[in-house]
Amino acid sequence: MAEIRFAGYGGQGIVRAAIIAGKAATIFENRFATMNQSFGPEARGGACSSQLILSDNEILYPYIITSAVLVAMSQEGYTVFEPELNEGGILLIDEDLVKPKPPRSKIKIFSVPATQIAEDLGNRIIANVVMLGFFTAITKLVSKEGMEKAVADSVPPRFKELNLTAFNKGFQHYKASK
């Protein structure tokens, strides 16, 4: 079982990222995934986060107690949810948006210029997909094939190619930086 937190602000596709990962796990890998989201009524532009639990068995308790992975795409999201990350957890950040403090002992930090990559591809709203690629490469919690199928399944056909490119850019970014 893995508990994952995605955090950022409204409009970044934080919830969508979690849905895609959840979809990959449930529909394309036949496992279980529960996704919950939270946002205020001031949804647009405000703080936004989603929590995803992946498991091979049915998930009973549907919320995060301590997270294994935190994907932070805003400074506020990082600040709020960093304490929730367990010892030895993985922290993924958009390096242009989050300036992390020195990490606690065993937390591993990985950074990617997701928004920058997305802008280079011509649309900053696919930063979440870039991040998902990066997430897949590092955590290996979901297979690349599953994720690709889920990404393709979750966007309108005319944006399919662009999104898959973004996903692979993110995926490769980890490979390249290793």
């Binding site: 009524p41 001031e42 647009r44 532009g45 405000g46």
Partner: protein, 286 residues
């Protein structure tokens, strides 16, 4: 959310600082939205009309525009969905010295609150209604509204709206409003003038403010951002003061007629009620 910046005495204060709850800024409205413009116009009108700010009370319902009450530094009420006018009726009857302004959206005032709208107009209850019409329910994420033009897309009309929209000035007029005007978010100066005029008018006044909703209405219908909508208003609105209200229908991206349409005199509810009470008194003491 960014924190409140304290303004030092030697800094230039925000021009509307005395009218806004600066501790609640930033507001929730999206970039390109016209509600902020309407609030600005309202604030300048308050300034211009020289009304006693202590005696102005703002009532809002639920929705994006419904949040206005939370940002103006006046006695302000954020009430239930659709009932702003009913709530305001109580206030204005409870204390006739107050100037009550209902500031809410089209869904709130005309859909669920339609009954209160027509009845308050019929009674000619003393209040100013500023109805920001963005053609859609924005707070809940883009559902069809009774103002959504035919064949327009919204989340609950995924195949195009099948219901003709209300002509708000016409219905206000036929129900008995004494002052009816319509402006777009582009016509800030004229809107300000209208609000100023209406603030000093006893009775039920309605000002419709056509506003862009860049986040839902424009996005779902591919109309560009707030600026594109403003450009559309600029190119497509015609000022026709005194136009018969029945000619004020709005279609999808059709020209919009703006102006002041109705300005008439009728006794207000409070006046009629007072007169009636004194008649009874006379009758009883005869």
């Amino acid at each position: 959310m960014s924190t409140l910046k304290t303004i030092k005495s030697n800094e230039v204060a925000h021009p509307m600082e005395n009218l806004l709850r600066m501790d609640r800024i930033p507001h929730i409205w999206c970039p390109g939205c016209g509600i902020g413009t309407a609030v600005t116009a309202f604030a300048s009108a308050l300034d211009k009309s020289k009304v006693d700010l202590d005696k102005v009370c703002v009532v809002s319902g639920i929705g994006c525009t419904g949040r206005v009450a939370g940002y103006v530094k006046l006695d302000s009420f954020h009430t239930t969905h659709g009932r702003a006018i009913a709530f305001a009726t109580g206030i204005t009857l409870g204390n006739p010295d107050l100037k009550v302004v209902v500031f809410s959206g089209d869904g709130d005032l005309i859909s669920i609150g339609g009954n209160h709208f027509i009845h308050a107009a019929r009674r000619n209850v003393n209040m100013l209604v500023i109805c920001v019409n963005n053609f859609i329910y924005a707070m809940t994420g883009g559902q069809v509204a009774p103002t959504t033009p035919l064949a327009t897309y919204a989340t609950t009309s995924p195949f195009g709206c099948v219901e003709p929209p209300f002509n708000i000035p016409y219905i206000a007029d036929s129900s008995g409003a004494v002052y009816v005007a319509r402006w777009t978010a582009l016509h800030v100066r004229r809107l300000t003038n209208s609000i100023t005029e209406a603030l000093n008018k006893p009775g039920f006044s309605v000002i419709e403010v056509i506003s862009p909703c860049a986040m839902y209405y424009s996005r779902i219908n591919k109309l560009g951002d707030g600026l594109d909508m403003m450009k559309f208003y600029h190119d497509n609105s015609k000022i026709k003061h005194g136009e018969d209200t029945k000619n004020l229908d709005i279609g999808f991206q059709t020209p919009i007629t703006v102006g002041k349409f109705v300005d008439r005199e009728r006794p207000t509810y409070t006046e009629s009620y007072k007169k009636w009470l004194s008649d009874i008194k006379k009758e009883k003491t005869k």
